[in-house]
Symmetry: C2
Subunit: 225 residues, 2 copies
């Protein structure tokens, strides 16, 4: 209903709002203004109001936003009451950490199974999550209605694994490998590239020392060097 066309950036901020509203609700706060949210989340208040305005007129002038109402609205909008099952492919260091990360408690996302080709891992459990061999994938996907996979395999097998996943019916991949994955255009892939993030941070530090606002990424190299 609500969604016409929400800018991508907005969609990315909604979970942030949601999370903070949960916090406010937990401490019993009744109302919050865009300025209040802005302070806490370090997002411009106008941006926040604009974001909400895509969803409807959720606030009241001179008052702000009712925490409970807004929280409930976002919960519905983000379908936070439906549990989304996901699988994790590649039970290495990072994969294991993510299995233990427990997305479920705070967000209704549940890793229902891990997959690995290492036979010594198959059959074990990590934090109650069973580890299967890859050939059980289709079966598990069907059983738990899984459409999303977290990919934490070595880069060298990332593409082959992706092909396999797509074939098995996966529609969204959260890719932690540095590989650029090729997939049909209806498959949604988000990349989290840890080394790029680290390198970029270091690059900015080295090249633009002691500059503007934390939030501000304008890069003017005030001619030293």
């Amino acid at each position: 209903m609500a969604d016409q066309k929400i800018p991508q950036v907005t969609a990315k901020r909604l979970p942030l709002y949601y999370r903070y509203l949960e916090k406010l609700h937990a401490i019993g706060k009744q109302r919050v203004s865009s300025a209040g949210l802005a302070d806490a989340l370090q997002i411009d208040p106008a941006t926040i109001r604009r974001d909400f305005s895509y969803l409807g007129e959720l606030g009241k002038k001179g008052y702000g936003y009712n925490v409970t109402y807004l929280l409930q609205f976002l919960r519905d909008f983000l379908k936070q009451d439906e549990v989304t099952n996901v699988v994790l492919i590649g039970v290495g260091n990072l994969g294991t950490a993510l299995l233990r990360y427990n997305f479920y408690r705070s967000h209704n996302t549940k890793i229902v199974a891990g997959f690995d080709q290492d036979v010594s891992k198959v059959g074990t459990e990590i934090d109650g999550i069973p580890i299967f061999a890859m050939d059980r994938l289709s079966e598990v996907l069907a059983l738990h209605h899984v459409e999303v996979a977290i990919l934490t395999v070595p880069a060298s097998v990332a593409q082959a694994t992706t092909n396999f996943l797509v074939n098995a019916g996966i529609r969204g991949i959260l890719n932690f490998t540095p590989a650029r994955l090729n997939a049909p255009s209806n498959i949604r892939i988000h990349h989290i590239d840890l080394t790029v993030e680290l390198q970029t941070l270091i690059y900015f530090l080295k090249n633009f020392p002691a500059e503007e606002d934390v939030n501000d990424f304008t890069l003017n190299s005030d001619g030293d060097d």
Copy 2:
């Protein structure tokens, strides 16, 4: 010559180019065109050419880019021959995985120490990286000239830890906690919010089935989410 004003997005793509060029170089490829890079990296060739054009005229018309030259140029530009030491704060699941991740082999970034307040962890090593108590922080930072910290503590202590880090002289933070950190404006903070990434992926899947844009490697770094 090189850096005047490089768009933030470009700076984020440079490590990508660098990594792929390394690969090309390793297999003995002499030249590459923006179209070739585009195919491999799933970035529009015009975007790639524009990115490089910020650094200078690195290609030759009718030829493309010389792999060795471009690689060397980027190596210099990204200061890939200098090792950057970083520390990791919070040796939990994720922290441990990152300690083992070995950024060093592929990129000249080295985690020289982990910190945790859990006394049972202090004094141990993970993959050869020693774990210290927080009160040794300043000492270690000074010894290894560290200015960057990876933050993998629980969200509840993220802000306090940040204050401590800033105080000790840290200038860049790669924040894996969901907390929005407050810090002086000269401190650079990049956020990697795993749950937001996962939730956003799921949101897009649920709401825009079968859409465009396989390639979305946006990550959030505070404002730049």
